[in-house]
Symmetry: C2
Subunit: 362 residues, 2 copies
């Protein structure tokens, strides 16, 4: 075979990366939308303009819109708790049990609590409709989130409420509610990437049999920093983590219930990869393992630092892990390995479609 590289074929026909008119038109269409190129230069933050001057490789264009600088968090150091809860078929017990774990963690100084994926219900398509709650209606229609709201207010803590099955009209979602220290619902993330996999003889599950996928990413400013939310299978899509990083996230939280097949293969790998690639903290929280349930969770809730280093992890039993997060490490790591200045916006660009279209966001 006379093999010829794609790149060399391209090179013969065009010089795309060095053709300023093509590139300008493209970037103009992408970034500017309804404004002129002149407005682009004058309206964007100054650090972007200087970055542009520094390099012909256009690192700031590797994210569209350009990456935000890391915001100053309300606190630099704080304690996070991962409550790896044992989940039963008794919803009332699950709620009371979760409340006890949260309060115990708060007693130990945790300011941020992360719960597991589907902590009020067994993880099965049969259970989701039965255990689902109407979160938007609240009150008696959602005893699980009512508890989270009450305990976050009473203990003045931030809660990333794992996830529960949510009923909204005739649809069901896998939803994570974030509560602030005043008990208010700050954000609700509906799992974007549904868990539909088929590994014959090992693991087959189709969430889409019962659930509907969420429509947007969720990143939220809390009293413990800017936090991007994903649920379980969402962690497999590096693009989501990268757009959260570009929106200035300090921490990504993934409630997740990997299983006995994908858990040993990928659970730790994916957390460490997202943390190291995005240079931020990643926290995960799984249900404790119940060998007798139809879906057996892997466990191994973990906190990973911005160098991809495992800071805290566990096996599969019920436990609450508590560790300190120090956001000053993020800036330090980004100084050591300055990816933001080194990306090649002249070669690849990751577009955050919502933020591109949402001029009011930042």
């Amino acid at each position: 075979m006379e093999a010829i590289g794609i790149t060399r074929l391209c090179h013969r026909n065009l010089l795309p990366t060095t053709n300023p008119s093509l590139t300008s038109t493209f970037i103009s269409n992408l970034v500017i939308g309804r404004t002129s190129f002149h407005n682009y230069n004058t309206n964007f933050p100054k650090f972007l303009v200087s970055a542009t001057m520094e390099s012909s490789f256009k690192p700031e264009e590797a994210r569209v819109p350009a990456e935000l600088s890391l915001p100053a968090p309300p606190v630099t150091k704080f304690k996070i708790a991962l409550c790896q809860l044992y989940v039963t078929t008794d919803k009332e017990r699950n709620i009371a049990h979760a409340q006890q774990a949260i309060e115990d963690a708060a007693d130990k100084g945790a300011q941020l609590i992360l719960l597991p994926e589907i902590w009020n219900s067994p993880y099965s398509n049969d259970s989701f409709p039965v255990y689902a709650e109407d979160i938007d209606a609240g009150g008696d229609a959602s005893p699980s989130t009512r508890m989270l709201s009450e305990v976050s207010r009473s203990r003045k803590i931030t809660i990333i409420g794992g996830s529960i099955p949510e009923r909204s009209g005739d649809k069901l979602y896998n939803s994570c509610c974030v509560f602030g220290t005043d008990g208010k619902l700050l954000a609700k993330h509906r799992k974007i990437h549904l868990f539909d996999i088929d590994i014959p003889g090992k693991m087959t599950f189709k969430e889409s049999r019962t659930l509907t996928a969420g429509e947007r990413p969720t990143i939220v400013d809390t009293e413990v920093g800017r936090i991007g939310i994903g649920i379980c299978y969402d962690i497999r899509f590096q693009e989501l983590a990268a757009i959260y990083a570009a929106r200035g996230a300090h921490l990504l939280c993934y409630p997740g219930a990997f299983n006995m097949t994908t858990g040993p293969l990928h659970w730790e790998l994916l957390q460490r990869a997202r943390a190291a690639d995005c240079q931020l903290y990643v926290a995960t929280c799984s249900p404790a393992r119940d060998g007798g349930s139809s879906y057996v969770a892997w466990g191994h809730s973990t906190l990973v630092g911005p160098f991809g280093e495992v800071l805290m992890t566990t096996e599969h039993e019920e436990t609450t892990l508590i560790a300190e997060i120090d956001y000053s490490v993020i800036e330090q790591r980004r100084t050591y390995l300055p990816f933001q200045k080194q990306r090649r916006g002249d070669l690849y660009q990751l577009v955050d479609v919502e933020r591109l279209n949402c001029t009011g966001a930042k």
Copy 2:
């Protein structure tokens, strides 16, 4: 603090992800360039059109241009050799030594040989100008690549020639040459992301003091499949791996010399992450460790399968690793975890700038 999520702010102002006119305009600008939206539907491959019909989440738009289907490789199973070579200050010796290792591997049935980063020279900014060769001139001006060409032809093997310092006019590059079974140069990759890091007291290196960065990705059709090339620090940028995957790569090859700081932290993690996220094979090849050199390489050349599983690895001594690659595993893994159908092109899009502008490529 009354914290409010970015997403919720967006949501109040606009409904970007559900606004078809905005999205259509955007995609039209991105993908179509000078053609109409009608042409988009009629000119694109049929599998894309059917994928579009399948989902409102537009998975095919998560890559721009759309991801190519995996090409049928010339061989499904073959042996790859990773030659983890000990490198000295004697260039002639390095060339003869590499040739011997390649021939030994070919004798053992290897059809694809991967060499380390900077295998003909010490890894230092002082050495790069001294050991650099004019690859384009060839012959006596590049004894290292002349050897690679000769041995690839005589043994009818494909060689991913690690990298050597390249002199081109008044510039130096860190360049990887790919030779086909007929001895012809199929592609030359110049390291895109230069290794400029500063971890105080641990590892400081600035390739940009002497080297110039390459201008484009390099993916090449060989007799052992479609191979994307990166050199060392290139592996840190997940976008490069993802655009290679979208161009139909079966295998990514990264000659690389991580060090005693970044090696234990990230070398295996990054290889496994690129393989698992892109669902393809990843091979790396490091120089053997020389504790007495100014830059001490980590070693640990590795082959990773498309589930992120380490198939073959080693410590830091000189050795040649040989293992079988089976490309049929790629399709199998992608059936198990069908990321291509699950990505959310309505939320994020990775743009391959060169392929977007290079209409002749595919």
